[in-house]
């Protein structure tokens, strides 16, 4: 059986007559990490939600493994794709471990929940506070617990909205490596990244989105080119080769 696939065809999303996204064509295949980059308000989160099946489409369709998303029942989707939202607000006194255990919900009948939870919490370095109450954790610690929860779902497709936002250097690299490993094992990772250098270092392809349209899709070298970035982000940049990795290094200049 071939690996997972996620395809967006002419996807358009509108709210009260205003187009948030229009004409998005994106084809993600097994083994790929795709980074969605773009200015604030460009439509990256909207696209991620469309790929997750969260919002109704005004135009086009999204297909997961060849089937349209709307043909899937919620429980089926939960076994195929996991979503990490930008923030998770928890008002109840659940422990970190209990939050991660919730990621096992779609696998309710399986017996190895404990082993999976321990494994993913070790991966995101969250075991050290597994019995602490989630609301008492710092932003970065909560982020690592949420990522562990998403990993606990054990899905071939991961849709991550700014997974590295609150994380320190070490944990940023850790999460990107997890994404890389997931893809190398045959999965798909689509992530929204504000850090262009992280995207350049770990993504197979970068999709640049601005004003609801897909401006460019290609390898980091192709998409993260200085002239294009300067136009889209309205900020001068200098793009060179990373001294240690085979990828571009993007340095913003004073505006």
């Amino acid at each position: 059986m071939t690996g997972p696939s996620l395809t967006a065809k002419s996807v358009g999303v509108a709210i009260q007559g205003r187009w948030l996204l229009r004409g998005i064509d994106l084809d993600v295949s097994s083994g790929e990490v795709v980074a969605l980059v773009g200015p604030n308000g460009a439509g990256k989160s909207t696209l991620l939600r469309a790929l997750a099946g969260e919002i109704p489409l005004a135009e086009g369709e999204v297909r997961l493994d060849g089937r349209p998303l709307r043909d899937y029942r919620p429980q089926e989707l939960a076994l195929r794709r996991a979503v990490l939202p930008q923030q998770t607000l928890v008002e109840f006194a659940f422990t970190a471990r209990e939050i991660v255990e919730m990621g096992r919900t779609p696998h309710r009948r399986s017996g190895n929940d404990d082993a999976v939870v321990t494994r993913v919490m070790a991966k995101t370095d969250a075991l050290r506070f597994e019995h602490r109450i989630f609301p008492s954790l710092s932003g970065g610690e909560q982020a690592r617990v949420s990522i562990a929860r998403v990993l606990a779902q054990e899905t071939p497709i991961l849709l991550l909205d700014e997974p590295t936002a609150s994380l320190d250097l070490r944990h940023q690299e850790m999460v990107m490596q997890i994404a890389r490993q997931t893809a190398d094992a045959g999965g798909i990772v689509v992530m929204i990244a504000h850090d262009l250098n992280l995207a350049a270092a770990y993504a197979d392809r970068v999709a640049l989105i601005a004003n609801g349209s897909l401006v460019s899709v290609g390898t980091p070298w192709q998409t993260l080119a200085a002239p294009l970035l300067e136009t889209i982000f309205e900020c001068p940049v200098s793009v060179t080769k990373h001294p240690l990795r085979d990828c571009p290094l993007i340095l913003p200049m004073p505006v």
Binding site: E54, A78, F92, P106, R132
Partner: protein, 315 residues
């Protein structure tokens, strides 16, 4: 949550549930013994055993038997049922609204039930004999919930905030209507109306217990089936739907179950304030939904034997 403690106390549900069950049984026995005729706990146990056909050889006063079996025990058992029903409804709503302060009053269900009861009393409706008022109260509860839900529904979905606002609006309107009816009434009826708006377990009989039990059991068992969904909803609706929970369907089912449980409680005991639902469910965060809910009942009666009001609940 304890001040300064960010570590969760690790007590297994296997300890908590039987422990609370034991505490509740002790409370039932003790509160049955309190009142104008004082009965010792061993006499109470002896009386109950005798009626159940178990011979423990404990002697007791015949007068005590009448008081305990016919008057107090139904009241106390009904209190346990009503308390459990309200606690379950409260916990379901807390999970649904993701707010530890939620209780059945949010969706207007108790005031709707009392409006229906008060309306039936004032119109002198007796179509189903003594079951008329309880059935009317339950219908009132269901209709109010339907109204709240219908008001809040927009584009096939309900926002939690809109549900709360609609609930507040509906309970204010029904409360006003109830007060109006009481105001307009002639002298003969207001006493039973006062009963309905204040609530109380004074008139409880085994008949009341028999009628309430199936509704409460059904409501509690069906709500427990949503245990996992409720826990997962606590981290967010989006997250819950990503994990395969059909949020809209679960919400609708829980609203119906809350109406059922609260309607049955109001029918049995008048508007036994919405605060029991909040206090009982709040003292233990709705985490272990796989376990049975037990409730330490609010035990109160309007007159002649006032008793203390005590709450606790656990899941």
């Amino acid at each position: 949550m304890l001040r300064g403690a960010d570590q969760a106390p690790r007590v297994s549900p296997l300890v908590v549930i039987p422990g609370l069950a034991l505490v509740m049984t002790i409370a039932l026995v003790l509160s049955a013994g309190m009142g104008a005729v004082s009965v010792t706990p061993s006499e109470t146990i002896g009386i109950v055993a005798h009626h159940l056909g178990i011979h423990l050889g404990i002697g007791y006063d015949v007068r005590a038997d009448a008081v305990i079996w016919s008057i107090r025990l139904p009241r106390v058992v009904l209190a346990a049922l009503v308390g459990g029903a309200l606690a379950t409804a409260g916990a379901a709503l807390q999970g649904m609204f993701r707010n530890p302060l939620a209780d059945p009053g949010f969706i207007g269900v108790s005031s709707g039930a009392s409006l229906a009861a008060v309306g039936a009393i004032s119109l002198g409706i007796r179509w189903l004999g003594s079951a008329t008022i309880p059935v009317a109260a339950s219908l009132g509860a269901c209709l109010t919930v339907a109204l709240t839900y219908g008001l809040a529904r927009h584009g096939g979905r309900t926002e939690v905030i809109t549900l709360v606002l609609a609930g507040v609006a509906v309970s204010t309107m029904t409360g006003a209507a109830t007060s109006f009816i009481a105001y307009v009434q002639s002298d003969g009826q207001p006493r039973s109306m006062v009963f309905w708006t204040l609530g109380g377990l004074g008139g409880a009989t085994w008949e009341t217990v028999r009628m309430t039990l199936p509704f409460v059991m059904l409501g509690v068992l069906l709500t427990m089936r949503h245990g996992v969904a409720l826990n997962v909803l606590a981290i967010g609706e989006r997250e819950a739907s990503h994990l395969g929970v059909d949020v809209e369907r679960v919400r609708m089912e829980l609203l119906v179950l809350t109406a059922l449980l609260t309607g049955a409680s109001v029918a049995a005991a008048g508007v036994v304030a919405s605060s029991p639902g909040r206090t009982t469910a709040r003292s233990c965060p709705p985490r272990r939904w796989a376990a049975r809910p037990w409730c330490w009942p609010p035990t109160s009666s309007p007159a002649p034997s006032p008793r203390r009001l005590r709450f606790r609940s656990g899941f």
